[in-house]
């Protein structure tokens, strides 16, 4: 028999084997399909579950406000900034003369206090310098 005829013959015979095998395809058991369905539903339940919130450290707020608070030293830092802002507004309203008077008073008071602590001789020595 020629080689090509043998090939054709082989192919025909194999096709019959394939056809037979296709007709008797392996079937899964009901138990197996039940297991697959349970697995599918189990995985699917994970998709629908409420996402777990990440744990937040006590006293630390998440988000932009929390970060800002942390940078400024918490509510205490914010309070200090508010006091400084109010003071700034008052200074602007009262004018620079008042500020100079207050500053001058403070300086005078400091000088007087220091003088009182020195003995008379020491004051003269200080004046000579």
């Amino acid at each position: 028999m020629a080689m090509t005829e043998m090939r054709k013959d082989d192919d025909t015979a194999l096709d019959l084997f394939f056809a037979e095998a296709r007709q008797s395809a392996p079937e899964p058991s009901a138990v197996f399909l039940g297991r697959i369905l349970a697995q599918a539903e189990g995985v699917q339940a994970g998709f629908c579950a409420t996402p777990v919130q990440p744990a937040v450290r006590r006293g630390v707020r998440a988000g932009g406000l929390g970060m800002l608070l942390a940078l400024l030293g918490g509510w205490g830092g914010i309070g200090g900034m508010a006091t400084a802002a109010v003071a700034g507004v008052w200074i602007g309203f009262a004018g620079s003369d008042t500020v100079a008077q207050v500053a001058g008073y403070a300086m005078t008071t400091e000088t007087a206090t220091a003088s009182a602590l020195l003995a008379d001789g020491d004051i003269l020595a200080l004046a000579a310098e």
């Binding site: 082989d10 095998a21 296709r22 899964p28 697995q39 599918a40």
Partner: protein, 192 residues
């Protein structure tokens, strides 16, 4: 959604519905993909318990990938054929303990193993003959001649070129013909 209403829905749409929590889609996908995964695994491995185990592993991957499934890129069945046959190839490789490239075209005693078949069951004879093929040839022959996929579909499932698919199936068929040659008279497929 009722199960009957999903009869005409494509596999891809079902997978999207499944990912969105539709329980009927889970049931319909199980009915469509479960038998496919098991059938291919059984044909590749020739062992029922191992085939069930492999099919379950492949389907678990499908369920997990559902929420990220990119529509329009690949058919669900092609994806599943790829995963099942690749997992089966890995198992066959481990079973034989050698690399696929080193697998002999026709192992010694292949024909005699088929001759030991007790009765004239042609499907069983073919399964025994398939078991003698190198894993990649078996993969190509199963997909082409038992699952009925086209060469381009096999090319996508096996991630190789169409020419490589043609070469694998041709070599696989030649090897099968040689293995089954001694059985043809006995099984009623002798020369006229």
């Amino acid at each position: 959604m009722a199960l009957d209403a999903l009869d005409d829905v494509s596999d891809e749409t079902l997978l999207v519905l499944y990912g969105n929590g539709d329980r009927a889609a889970a049931r319909m996908l199980t009915l469509r993909m479960g038998p496919l995964a098991f059938r291919v695994a059984q044909r590749m491995l020739g062992d029922r318990a191992e085939a069930e185990d492999l099919a379950q592993e492949a389907l678990l991957r499908l369920w997990k990938i559902a929420p990220e499934w990119r529509t329009g890129e690949a058919k669900v069945t092609t994806w599943l054929y790829r995963v099942v046959t690749n997992l089966a190839t890995d198992r066959l490789r481990r079973r034989r303990g050698i690399g696929l490239d080193e697998a002999p075209e026709l192992p010694d005693g292949a024909a005699s193993a088929v001759e030991q078949m007790i009765d004239g069951d042609r499907a069983a004879a073919l399964e025994a003959a398939l078991a003698q093929l190198p894993a990649r040839q078996r993969q190509a022959v199963v997909l082409r001649h038992l699952e009925g996929l086209s060469n381009p579909e096999i090319s996508a499932a096996m991630e190789i070129g169409v020419e490589a698919v043609e070469s694998l199936t041709a070599r696989g068929k030649r090897a099968l013909a040689a293995i089954l040659a001694g059985r043809r008279e006995e099984l009623g497929y002798g020369h006229d």
